[in-house]
């Protein structure tokens, strides 16, 4: 160890004696490390921004059957939903569930394929649902008695009847072999955006989008009684309590269905956009970091070049040292220390500059980026820069150490 410090001191003496050149040698490493640290930090910041944006808090969560444990899909019953509503009380605004079936509806205009949502009165205010523009939604009473009523949207009304003044009118709905005459209670708005989308679909020759919402109890009339649902969506009264509501619902459902296993229910993960975007950003960051890493290698070659020049220039010094008793290992250690210190110092300066640039970009919000210094990037950059010095220092160091003292002394 003591001897190692001697080599470090020799290296430092020599770096100090050649300040200008040592700095220029470091420059390649400095630029490489600065760019790696800055780019990775910007990538890191972008990633955080994207993840934050896609993680926007919502009030609505969905609890579903844990399909890994339970294969049945019809486990959440109407009683379960009533129980949830009673137990969770005012902390939830809305509890909705539905099951979609396909059917056919027939009017004077013809017969159309339709998506039929078998649902509950709460579905009126389901997440993303458009408001009613005419009439009203079906009620608890309608549901309990299984009345043949429905709610459709303006688009569907136009397809089925040619206009939207259709509250109170009825049409024939067939599901599988069952046929029922259903009466329209209310009309949902179809937004202009949706109309445009539909126009595009039509232009592509796709079938009309006909959607009908009926009380789920009506399923019995079609000979397809719904015993239960696969999932239930809960809208919390305020967004802060969303996750609390979700875990409470999971617990309550678990306790009511212990016969299905330890944990038959779980909170549905929203399609994880943030993970996906995070992965993409990671990819981009890795790519740009790779490009920056190439500049580090170029910097390393610069170190090697200068060290080779230095070996040639210092042939006599090496000869003197060997004549005075330096062994091969001592000379290698001295030169390796020198290249490692040069690139290590370059690394430290690069990290400081990169950190400074990162802070500057964050402070000025250039491009709205909140760059944040990535600790792993800093650690890797440090190790990498020292590694570069050692790897690219080996060749010159060995060259130096192999010089014969007589040859070395004879020069000049």
């Amino acid at each position: 160890m003591g001897q190692f410090l001697e080599y470090v001191k020799m290296a430092l003496d020599n770096i100090r004696a050649n300040k200008g050149r040592s700095f220029l040698t470091m420059l390649g490493i400095i630029i490489g490390i600065t760019s790696v640290v800055t780019i990775v930090s910007i990538g890191n910041g972008l990633r955080n921004d994207v993840v934050d944006a896609t993680n926007m808090q919502t009030n609505t969560v969905t609890v579903q059957v844990n399909s890994e444990e339970v294969t049945r899909t019809d486990v959440i019953t109407g009683e379960d939903i009533s129980f949830l509503r009673d137990t969770l009380g005012s902390s939830v605004e809305n509890i909705t569930t539905s099951q979609t079936m396909s059917g056919k509806c027939t009017t004077r205009k013809g017969t159309f394929d339709a998506y039929v949502s078998m649902t509950t009165p709460d579905y009126e205010n389901a997440q993303y649902a458009s408001p009613l523009v005419k009439g009203s939604y079906f009620t608890e009473n309608d549901m309990e008695s299984g009345r043949p009523v429905c709610v459709i949207d303006e688009l569907t009304a136009r397809y089925l009847f040619g206009n939207t003044n259709v509250v109170g009118m009825s049409f024939e709905l067939a599901i599988d072999t069952g046929i029922q005459e259903v009466t329209i209670l209310g009309i949902r708005e179809t937004s202009d955006d949706m109309m445009e989308v539909e126009a595009t679909y039509q232009a592509m020759g796709m079938p009309e989008s006909i959607s009908i919402e009926v009380p789920y109890t009506l399923s019995e009339a079609f000979g397809q009684p719904i015993e239960g649902f696969y999932s239930v969506s809960l809208t919390a009264a305020d967004s802060d309590s969303t996750s609390r509501v979700a875990s409470a619902a999971v617990q309550l459902l678990n306790s009511r269905h212990q016969d299905l296993g330890d944990a038959p229910f779980m909170q549905q993960r929203p399609i994880d956009l943030s993970d996906m975007m995070g992965a993409i950003m990671d990819g981009v960051t890795a790519f740009v970091a790779l490009v920056a890493a190439i500049s580090l290698v170029v910097g390393g070659i610069g170190v090697m070049n200068i060290m080779l020049v230095s070996v040639t220039e210092r042939t006599r010094e090496i000869g003197i040292r060997k004549a005075l008793g330096a062994k091969t290992g001592s000379i290698i250690a001295q030169f390796l220390c020198e290249s490692a210190i040069i690139s290590g110092m370059g690394g430290v300066i690069g990290i400081l500059l990169g950190g400074g640039l990162t802070a500057l970009i964050s402070a000025l919000e250039i491009g709205g980026i909140h760059a944040s210094l990535s600790l792993p990037a800093v650690i890797i950059a440090t190790l990498f820069s020292c590694g570069v010095g050692i790897v690219f220092g080996i060749y010159p160091a060995r060259k130096a150490a192999r010089l014969s003292p007589i040859e070395a002394l004879r020069r000049m």
Binding site: D13, A17, I320, A323, L324, G325, A326, K327, P405, L409
Partner: protein
């Protein structure tokens, strides 16, 4: 008692085969402790090759070199480094100081490779520099010193490690006459204090000042005479 240096039928052949150069062609000699020897020869006589052998800077093609009874002609590079470090103090014609180290730093060098601790090393170096009259130039770098002073730093470096042999290769070759006298005086002083001093030179004036003159010609010992040194 085993002589300090015993060289036995030493050969050094460069470019063996065609165009071979027999730099040393069967040199045998013995040098005892405390001798003051000049190895004299013209350039190309083989005296520098002999000096490289005696200084353990090079290994012979054939023959043996016993240093304090140990055969060093077959040692590896790293072993030779060790021998040079412990047994031989070099003084070169071109001083061979390291430019970016001050006087103390230069004198310390052999002690660093001998793994002597920092404090002790510094003390020894300062002492050696005082001995050669450079007690006031400890922090000077070589380019801040005159030729004579630089050579005195080199002498201090050679004696600091207390080696049994001082090997001086044309020590006064680059010096003016006044500095030559200074350096020779120091070498004589070292001899008087019991060191073995070997000077390699082509200069008969230098040769006249030592106790024994070995003349080399064409890679062989031409003459080997004991003399009374001519004190100038």
């Amino acid at each position: 008692m085993e002589p300090l240096i015993r060289v036995d039928d030493l050969h050094k052949i460069y470019n063996p085969g065609e165009n071979e150069v027999r730099a040393l062609d069967g040199v045998s000699l013995t040098i005892n402790r405390g001798e003051f020897v000049a190895i004299v020869g013209h350039s190309g006589s083989g005296k520098s090759t002999l000096m490289n052998m005696l200084g353990c800077l090079d290994t012979p093609t054939s023959g043996h070199y016993y240093l304090e009874g140990m055969d060093v002609s077959t040692l590896s590079d790293n072993q030779l480094s060790d021998i040079r470090n412990k047994k031989i103090g070099f003084i070169f014609q071109g001083f061979n100081l390291i430019a970016n180290l001050d006087a103390v730093g230069n004198v310390e060098l052999p002690l660093i490779y001998r793994k002597v601790g920092k404090q002790k090393r510094r003390r020894i170096a300062v002492q050696a520099l005082k001995k050669v009259g450079l007690g006031t130039r400890l922090k000077h770098r070589p380019n801040e010193l005159s030729g004579g002073q630089q050579q005195r730093v080199a002498v201090a470096r050679a004696i600091a490690a207390q080696p049994p042999i001082i090997l001086a290769d044309e020590p006064t070759g680059n010096l003016d006459s006044r500095s030559t006298v200074e350096i020779m005086d120091i070498l004589k002083e070292l001899h008087k204090s019991g060191r073995t001093v070997i000077i390699i030179t082509h200069d008969d004036d230098i040769a006249r000042q030592v106790n024994r003159v070995i003349r080399i010609m064409d890679g062989r010992v031409e003459s080997d005479e004991i003399q009374n040194p001519n004190e100038e």
